[in-house]
């Protein structure tokens, strides 16, 4: 019966392969999710009635239902209307749409916290609403959102582990496979747990540094 460290040495490479898949998936989801989330946030603040209702509905739906249900729906449900997706793509779409809904709320809060007086001043100079939003509101809102928003990348990294349910060969799935072949489930998952811990801590540290660097700008009165 090999010790834990020997076990780790043998199976770490497999887990690292899985980690790479996890990180790839995570990166795509963050990219798509943040862009979509920002758009949704803008829709909620500046959109007319129908846009507001649609974006609010989307957000309520994705925040009110479990991530697991969303993944199962996208992977197993969509084929029934002709949309066939590979596990990775299905997981990425579901995760991306989910994180967008949460991020939308953070962005909305940050945008609304910018005093309307600044927008009025911008408009008074002759800027269009779009110019005012992109030159005055967004640069400040994107800085203000960082503390709250930085929860999202970490959360997404952890929830990416659910993708193993539909067969994505990410970290969790590899740990399970090792478990099935060695019957040392606990060791395999413990190893996976440690990898996640390291990843989330590195990520948290990076985000913390980002927050520090961005808040160099003095906040307005």
């Amino acid at each position: 019966m090999t010790g834990f460290f020997e076990f780790a040495r043998i199976y770490l490479p497999t887990l690292v392969e899985g980690t790479i898949v996890t990180l790839e998936m995570w990166a795509w989801c963050m990219l798509g999710g943040t862009i979509l989330g920002l758009l949704l946030g803008l829709c909620r603040v500046y959109g007319n009635k129908p846009i507001f209702v649609l974006s609010s509905g989307y957000i309520e739906l994705f925040r009110g239902t479990p991530m697991l249900a969303q993944i199962l729906f996208v992977y197993f449900g969509l084929p029934e209307i002709g949309v066939l997706l590979t596990p990775v793509v299905a997981a990425s779409i579901a995760l991306g749409m989910n994180t967008a809904a949460y991020q939308a709320e953070y962005f909305r809060g940050a945008i609304q916290s910018i005093e309307t007086g600044q927008v009025e001043a911008a408009r008074s100079l002759g800027m269009t609403q779009i110019q005012a939003i992109s030159n005055i509101v967004l640069p400040q809102a994107l800085r203000r959102v960082i503390p709250q928003w930085s929860n999202e990348p970490i959360l997404l990294l952890k929830y990416s582990s659910i993708a193993f349910v539909i067969g994505v060969p990410e970290l969790m799935a590899r740990a399970q496979m090792i478990g099935y072949s060695t019957f040392r489930f606990f060791d395999a998952f413990l190893l996976a747990a440690l990898i996640y811990l390291i990843l989330t801590n590195i990520l948290a540290q990076c985000l913390h540094t980002l927050e520090k660097r961005v808040s160099v700008l003095p906040k307005s009165k």
Binding site: E115, G117, Q118, E120, A121, A122, R123, S124, L125, G126, M127, T128, Q131, N135, I136, P139, Q140, R143, L217, P218, K219, S220, K221
Partner: protein, 252 residues
């Protein structure tokens, strides 16, 4: 053709009728001050002039173009109308210099390098050349307001609207802003100011408009109106502000 023409403007907020038929005109070079009790729609009137608010009834023309016409592209007129806010509304994430530049670059399409030169001129004009690299949070209220005036000036406006420019300032900072405004007035700028700074009125105003309960009750040259107001309400109001704010400050 007048530079500014306001014709029978009405504005209500819900049930409250704030402007009840206001009309007046301004020619190039005029300095007019609107005084009156708070809540009587002075700010609202000013905001109607550059389209931040729309009147319910009535028309407004700036240099022949009808501001109140929905077909008018308001963004084209606004650069010609400077607006100085009570709360300065400087762009918090930009330095003083960039605050003054941004209108030139984004609205007038100027090159950044040219804009900076012009912006520095305006900042120096208001006495803040050395604060070009400072952020709003690093400046006093008086400095912020002067930057906001520079920001308006940089656009080369035909007239400037001032919405209680000194009301949000600590007393010792009011003087520096009023000095800038007086210099502007003496330099020939057309200015419409909402304020209770009587000293400013005496120094440079051509006419004072007393706005009470949504109407212009009385208007006249400072020397006439302040010494001999025709209406009782005007008299009461003037007494009140002189009591509250002391005799008008001495401006150099």
């Amino acid at each position: 053709m007048s530079l500014l023409r306001v014709d029978d403007v009405y504005k209500a907020y819900g049930d409250l009728l704030v402007l009840k038929g206001v009309s007046f005109q301004m020619e190039k070079g005029d300095i007019k001050v609107i005084i009156g009790p708070s809540g009587t729609g002075k700010s609202t009137l000013l905001r109607c002039l550059n389209g931040l608010t729309s009147p319910d009834k009535g028309k407004i023309w700036i240099d022949g173009i009808e501001v109140t016409d929905p077909k008018t592209n308001i963004n084209k007129i606004r650069p010609d109308i400077g607006f100085v806010f009570q709360n300065f509304n400087l762009f918090a994430h930009l330095t003083a210099l960039d605050n003054v530049c941004i209108g030139l670059v984004k609205v007038k399409g100027m090159k950044k390098s040219e804009a900076r030169v012009l912006a520095m001129e305006e900042l120096r004009r208001v006495g803040l050349g050395e604060k070009a690299g400072a952020y709003p949070a690093e400046m006093s209220g008086g400095q912020q307001q002067r930057v906001s005036i520079a920001r308006a000036l940089a656009m080369n406006p035909k007239l400037i609207l001032f919405d209680e420019p000194t009301s949000a300032l600590d007393p010792e900072l009011i003087g520096e802003v009023l000095k800038v405004m007086i210099d502007l007035a003496k330099g020939g700028m057309t200015m419409l100011v909402v304020s209770h700074e009587i000293g400013f009125c005496r120094a440079v105003a051509d006419e004072i408009l007393f706005l009470d309960e949504g109407k212009i009750i009385e208007k006249g040259h400072p020397s006439d109106l302040l010494a001999n107001p025709s209406y009782q309400r005007t008299k009461e109001f003037l007494n009140k502000i002189i009591k509250l704010y002391g005799e008008e400050r001495d401006k150099a």
